[in-house]
Symmetry: C2
């Protein structure tokens, strides 16, 4: 049976949201997962899972050294349970930096992996279809070889989580023709062209990332982070503008009432809560990072991602892919 460790304390909404996420998962998949619930014992009593007491909470902005010093924190203990083989995967809503530090130091990289990377699913114009982009920020620079490895890991992720049979893989570029892109992107292009186990499609410009054609887009951590956060910024700005357009006067408010069904769909598509968080790939274990202010539903989706990755043995698949 699969065991997942959940860091119950590090999210902005505390253990209540985490408990709700676990409950929703148990309701949908009864008796498929053992839970290690890592957090303050007194807050977790009565929950469906094994309680691992952790009195401390990792500070959101903890740096590398702080992260490793906070050994009594729920985050450190949750990650450590994967290291000690007590759990197959770990989910946390804590600070990205601290969580990545704990995961890479405690679990170590898969043999052959140059770097670990963060993968995030983005919505696309095709309803229900996601595109996975990596690295979105575990690194601040990457070589061509590293980007090519990210492409491989992303392809396996797309198969495991979204059941895409032969994921279309691209390299992020400033032009679609061969020869365009950053020097590192061009190097990744040359490496990927040679691989028979990846359905490599060439370069893709940032404006086409969400058009629904690509399943995987590989890039360096700095530009991937720019894409992730830039997308978030525009989406937020446009949502605010829509809101104020509807709140303009009594007529526009009525207009909202008449058209809200479609806008509810749109909101759901753009909602990070339904995407299940970002995952750290390239380490020895399943590591899922949910948004800091995740509610129960968001945590439920993050647990689902961790569950499908463990079930489909993503880590073993990456090990095999990297050895080729």
């Amino acid at each position: 049976m699969i065991t997942l460790a959940v860091d119950m304390s590090s999210g902005d909404l505390g253990s209540k949201a985490a408990l709700e996420g676990v409950r929703l998962f148990q309701e949908k998949h009864p008796n498929e997962v053992n839970f290690l619930l890592v957090g303050k014992k007194e807050e977790l009593e009565g929950a469906q899972g094994e309680i691992v007491d952790a009195k401390e909470v990792m500070p959101m902005e903890a740096g590398v050294l702080d992260a490793l010093r906070n050994k009594e924190s729920s985050m450190f203990k949750a990650v450590n349970s994967v290291k000690e083989k007590k759990a197959d995967g770990v989910i946390s809503c804590g600070g990205t930096g601290a969580f990545l530090t704990c995961a890479t130091v405690l679990l170590r990289k898969i043999p052959g992996a140059e770097r670990a990377c963060l993968v995030a699913p983005f919505p696309t114009r095709i309803k229900g279809k996601k595109v996975v982009i990596l690295d979105v920020g575990a690194n601040n620079e990457n070589s061509g070889k590293e980007i090519a490895q990210f492409a491989l890991m992303g392809s396996l992720y797309s198969r495991c989580v979204y059941n895409v049979k032969d994921p279309k893989v691209y390299v992020l570029s400033n032009g679609s023709e061969e020869g365009k892109g950053s020097p590192e992107g061009q190097e990744a292009y040359a490496l990927l062209k040679e691989r028979k186990d990846i359905n490599f499609q060439g370069n893709l410009e940032a404006r086409d990332v969400l058009n629904g054609d690509a399943d995987v887009v590989a890039t360096d951590g700095f530009s991937g982070n720019t894409l992730l956060k830039g997308t978030e910024g525009v989406a937020k700005m446009m949502s605010e503008m829509m809101k104020s357009a509807f709140q303009r006067n009594i007529f526009s408010k009525l207009g909202y009432l008449l058209s809200r069904k479609g806008f509810k769909d749109m909101k759901e598509t753009m909602d990070y809560k339904s995407v299940g968080g970002a995952m750290l790939l390239g380490v020895n274990g399943v590591v899922v990072k949910a948004h800091g202010n995740s509610d129960g539903v968001a945590i439920f989706h993050a647990i689902e991602v961790a569950y499908s990755l463990v079930k489909n043995k993503l880590v073993d698949q990456i090990k095999e892919g990297l050895s080729q």
Copy 2:
């Protein structure tokens, strides 16, 4: 008197749109600018300006060598008129690559400028306020020194075009604290901290670029291009979703009629046509690139940008700034 050369043939909408752009400008600023209208003579007769006959059109996808070979094209001739001091600035809707090639080869870089860069204005959450981002794609990699120069050029641009007195300048980063960012971004940070002529504010994450605080955001050409095109991609996707939300049924259509005023405002804010195109900074001359499918209004705005840059002597200001 200021003279501007307009490439009349290279845009998707041809000379009609270009003529309309010139006409709108002449209407707003009568007798302030001489125009060199470079294009097919027979299409330009009767227009307010000096016609420079150019039989050829630069192909949209022309590479570096093609660009320099097409000496009879309206684009080449328009840029060349700046080289020959017949015009103070040039506006084109043609292919970015070819236009940048003509401009950098014919006009050459300003002494001290490491690289030329493209600057683009973005809308922000504050109505009417723009943020200028550079480089958005003239280069595919940049050093820290180059990024710091972009910051200086962007600051001068913000003063000239938007009359911002003491523009707030940031470096694009993956975190807001000092020490975050790409290695090149960190190098730029260290250089900018020392400059007294720039109101340097530190690092800025991509999600905060449009929040209205920053006037200038400097970054390398690859991540800047990712930000520009990523923003465009999300905005397009959300606009399509809004449209289909309103077209869902008779009620949502009525909802649109009741709330359209606010949405029209939103559309205007997000519209590239009102921003006046991107400009190439760091060369000896004012070089403005309008969108390929610009209509008359978009070309009018691009001419306005060129006009204010010539009038405010941006090129001389950059020369002076780089010599410090």
